[in-house]
């Protein structure tokens, strides 16, 4: 998508700001899910063919998510804002190409087993 069809008197806009909107085709909310910064995503199923109608960024996410990755990590590796990644992940979730896991919630913070696992994990670093 190019910006050449914009009126000549259009104000110049920072391309770093515009790119995220172009990637999502102007969408700002995911079609599915909320996707916290640390929601985890994992690619599921066989790699999609061209009929899935995915953009290069979708495919990059699927590639990255062969191992579980958070929204924040995907954003960092793809050099796109987290909000953009949320929208793209929503598309993939909608097409059943990724599964997602919400982060530990405030309520789950009372779970003793979680604290034990975190302490054990830190001690064995």
């Amino acid at each position: 998508m190019s910006t050449t069809d914009e009126p000549a008197d259009e104000h110049w806009v920072d391309p770093e700001i515009v790119r995220p909107y172009v990637v999502t085709r102007g969408r700002t909310q995911p079609v599915h899910g909320k996707f916290d910064l640390i929601s985890m995503a994992l690619a599921v199923g066989p790699p999609p063919g061209p009929e899935a109608g995915l953009d290069p960024e979708h495919l990059q996410i699927l590639q990255l998510c062969r191992e579980p990755k958070s929204v924040a990590e995907i954003a960092a590796y793809l050099n796109l804002p987290a909000g953009t990644i949320r929208v793209l992940l929503g598309d993939l979730f909608d097409k059943e190409l990724v599964s997602a896991q919400e982060p530990q919630s405030e309520v789950d913070m009372r779970d003793m087993n979680m604290y034990r696992a975190v302490l054990d994990g830190l001690r064995s670093l």
Binding site: A72, G83, V87, Q101, A117, L122, L125
Partner: protein
């Protein structure tokens, strides 16, 4: 081709810990010291309407800011992944802090004794929000040395809040800080954890 679900990596639950403190207190240094990869950077685009990417209509009429957050990952077990987020330094980004603090295990406030006042806003913030936190005094070379009690007094910290010395460049030292926080958070929110 059918994939057996059990052959695929499981989806772990993510837990986050915030690393707060004034500019130059060593937040990213600590994230780097304990994380399994180099610190990563994620960005949120903000407009004066708030966080996230909203519509492009008259974007030039809005003030647009990018808030960058450095973070690192520690894969703890198959079930849990820990993320450490350095909080954005400027106080006008409080609403980013809100998003980060929501559902967090707790926060480490890094204190630099040369600029102790820089961590007042963080202490206030986490006290008000009820987020468990510990204060880690980062020992910079040439910085004035204070007794921990003096720092506690200066920050008006409740006696129940752990305060420890650390070297944010060192993995073991930073890990001890995290362990102190996890135990403190467990004490506040769950049953006591035996050490």
């Amino acid at each position: 081709m059918v994939f057996d679900r059990s052959d695929r990596p499981r989806l772990p639950r993510a837990i986050k810990i915030l690393i707060a403190g004034g500019f130059g207190a060593g937040k990213t240094t600590m994230v780097a010291a304990v994380s399994e990869t180099r610190p990563l950077r994620t960005e949120e685009i903000l407009t004066d309407r708030g966080i996230g990417v909203d519509d492009l209509t008259s974007v030039e009429a809005k003030r647009t800011t990018t808030v960058a957050m450095d973070f690192g990952r520690i894969t703890l077990t198959n079930d849990y992944v820990l993320y450490l987020f350095g909080t954005p330094g400027q106080e006008r980004f409080w609403f980013v802090w809100d998003e980060l603090a929501e559902g967090s295990l707790g926060a480490v406030i890094l204190a630099d004794t040369r600029r102790l006042a820089d961590c007042f806003p963080s202490v206030d913030y986490f006290e008000r929000r009820g987020t468990p936190f510990v204060v880690a005094v980062n020992c910079f070379e040439g910085a004035p040395t204070f007794e921990l009690d003096e720092v506690r007094l200066a920050l008006q910290l409740d006696p129940s809040i752990p305060i420890i010395l650390c070297d944010a460049r060192k993995r073991d030292s930073s890990r001890e800080v995290l362990i102190t926080l996890v135990k403190h958070s467990a004490r506040l929110r769950a049953e006591p954890v035996s050490s």
